[in-house]
Symmetry: C2
């Protein structure tokens, strides 16, 4: 099964377009958890367990595990393995390199860590993506339009009268020879998501930046679903779910936050989940 | 001491602009070495030992260590620690993310792994670089013009009549508030290196792509040194040094290859090392 098919099935099975980010932020560890690898894994696993019925995908962010040192990579591997088999895991790593190096990054993400998809950076050109898309059953999500305030410094540079991010989106559509490319499009710019969706109607969109970053989940979801309303996408949030409560009730709080966010996203699609 | 100062001193001390890439490619392990973490570390350490007198810097590439699994990160940490203290280590990781995530990548590179500099991708804009450049004693080398055949797909897109990579170089000069930014400029496009050098006379340039990738070391060095001849730069090669011999003489062969490449680079500067 392809990544697209798996993601579409997971969205349908959970009636959800929510992707739960698995970014163990030191300051958000609940009471009774220490910032050591064992406790971080225990925390991440508890979050997966608490949110599984609401999550169409999970997105561990490599940086938070790398920062724990070598043991952090074991935690990342174990966290990915703890996700239910029918729920795709998107490794947020934003890798981008050439040739043999790109091949090693793809091997690390897909074979060593077992991710179903990985985020990548396409600044190095089409050939830098090839070692990733060669894994035809995995997804490769190209960073296109990011959610940060400085996103436009490079992404809005004008190419033939249109912003770079839109040119890149169109290039990705052309480069997508195996049907496993997708795009990362920040929730803080819903108008840009809509423009990208028009150019790339078939591509899955990963939409980060709701919650702590201020993106409006409903507006982002409506834009990502597109005119026809059936565009494949997930909206991702990390801190608002993982940090929902610092107390012993953190699992309940995370589940409540995940349910509420799933419902807000669905409201953006006009499906109503009051 | 800043990264620039440390790099300039190392270049002067060795009379060298050679950066030895530490990319343990499975197929290049010499006889008697297995592709397991212990042997990879033994191999990388032997290469450092053999080439130390010719190397102004070392550049381990994160991908090759990540591909070894969690133990690979211990190998990377140990490899960095094995480099002589007066020789800067550039972690080639091409990281690029925002906010807390970028901060965690910077922590991983500088504090956990102990790198003196790291390569990054600036597609996400100036604010994505800030957590890296906040480490004022470390170097941050922005991928500007890469050495691969598809480099131009994105990097040559025209912005106001000039290629994107040149606009990015100029932006980096402006963003360099602490004097610790540098640029990655592939050896396979020496004319582009020259244009970048004109825009950024003070910045250290990391020039990969000689040897296996076909870049001409002399032409690249001349372009990176610039008109005045005193531009700060290192030319990097991995496979031609680490894979110089598959036999028991691999250390001698690596030393010979490093010496020869150092001399070719210096010839490009008109210093002659016949």
């Amino acid at each position: 099964m392809t990544f697209r098919e798996r993601l579409r099935l997971a969205c349908a099975a959970r009636d959800s377009h929510l992707c739960v980010g698995l970014d163990p932020v030191r300051e958000q560890l609940p009471t009774g958890f220490e910032p050591d690898p064992d406790d971080v894994l225990r925390f991440v696993t508890a979050i997966i367990e608490a949110t599984a019925e609401f999550a169409a995908a999970y997105k561990p962010n490599s940086a938070f595990y790398e920062a724990l040192g070598p043991a952090g990579m074991e935690v990342l591997q174990a966290a990915i393995a703890a996700v239910p088999g029918d729920t795709p895991v998107i490794l947020d790593a934003k890798r981008g390199d050439i040739d043999h190096t790109a091949e090693r990054y793809a091997h690390a993400a897909f074979d060593v860590l077992g991710a179903g998809a990985v985020t990548v950076n396409a600044y190095l050109g089409r050939d830098s993506l090839e070692p990733f898309i060669a894994y035809k059953d995995r997804g490769v999500l190209v960073v296109c339009r990011t959610s940060n305030p400085g996103a436009g410094d490079v992404q809005d540079l004008e190419i033939n009268g249109e912003p770079l991010y839109l040119t890149l989106a169109r290039d990705c559509r052309e480069w997508d020879e195996h049907g496993n490319l997708g795009l990362v499009t920040g929730a803080t710019y819903p108008g840009d998501i809509a423009r990208i969706r028009v150019e790339c109607p078939e591509m899955p969109l990963l939409v980060p930046g709701v919650g702590a970053q201020g993106g409006d989940a409903e507006a982002a979801a409506a834009a990502a679903a597109g005119e026809g309303g059936d565009g494949l996408f997930v909206v991702s949030s990390s801190r608002s779910v993982m940090g929902a409560s610092p107390g012993a009730d953190f699992q309940h709080a995370a589940a409540d936050a995940a349910r509420a966010l799933r419902d807000r996203i669905n409201q953006g699609l006009g499906q109503g989940h009051p």
